[in-house]
Amino acid sequence: MTLTIEIAPEIESRLEREAKRQGLEKEEFVKIIIEKTLLPKSERRKNYIPEGVTPRYIGKAEMRDFSGDDEWLRENREKYQGQYVATHGNRLIAAGNNFKEIITKAREDGFPDALVRYVEPLDTPPYVGGVW
């Protein structure tokens, strides 16, 4: 079946951009959208990964030992609760309320592999998780 349709220029440019981003011809991209939309409801499964993107294992990773970072946090959690901290081993590199500034400071100080995390307040209610 061959179908000719008219769409607004703005939609067309978005279509072209998204198809290009996914490495597809725009006709191919539209075909995928139509096929997915018209699947019987029972066969639809929400896919949060775009067509053409295939997550995969690519090899072993060297990661440093973080036991010192955790030890530092256990000893200092109360003092830094509610703040972002950057640590490297049992050494504090930076702390504050602005996440981006903490990452920047760690990099500027020569610690691009600092662990940057939010120190949850001690009275934070239990986390129950889940995003869908």
Binding site: V53, D113, E120
Partner: protein
């Protein structure tokens, strides 16, 4: 009947704070950042703080937008391809960054992470067992 699984990596988690937390490196090109992330089978995908994406020089709004729901409400997020490293395993994957700032927790969910690994958990002993979910590794 008994079943046996074999894993490449055993990890003992004892991070301070709530949940099962593992160290996660996000890498885009030569830039990387290391953060904590919660292992969360209830999450459909991986979600990270917007700030982490921005520090990787990612233009967040150019990503694959989706609206999410959580137990406490909704939020918008943008998906991007990048490299993610956890427990000594490196993946070329797709994760989301929150549209708003100050997401307090990063999540490792099903699409983009769990589906790439074989995962075993002994929470009583604080042990994670993990292997890449590909037969050739």
């Amino acid at each position: 009947m008994n079943y046996q699984l074999n894993f490449a990596v055993k990890h003992i988690y004892n991070s301070p704070g709530a949940g099962i937390t593992i160290k996660t490196t996000l890498r885009s090109g030569n830039i990387y950042t290391i953060c904590d992330a919660k292992v969360d089978t209830g999450s459909e995908f991986c979600l990270f703080a917007r700030e982490s994406g921005e520090k990787l020089d990612i233009n967040i709004e150019t990503g694959f937008r989706t609206n999410l729901i959580t137990l406490s409400g909704g939020l918008a997020a943008y998906g991007h391809s990048l490299e993610l490293e956890t427990l000594g395993l490196k993946f070329d994957t797709f994760v989301y960054f929150a549209a708003d700032y100050s997401l307090p927790r990063n999540l490792l969910g099903r699409q983009g992470w769990f589906q790439l690994v074989k995962f075993g958990l002994d929470d009583y002993a604080s042990e994670i067992y993990i292997s890449p979910n590909q037969e050739n590794f």
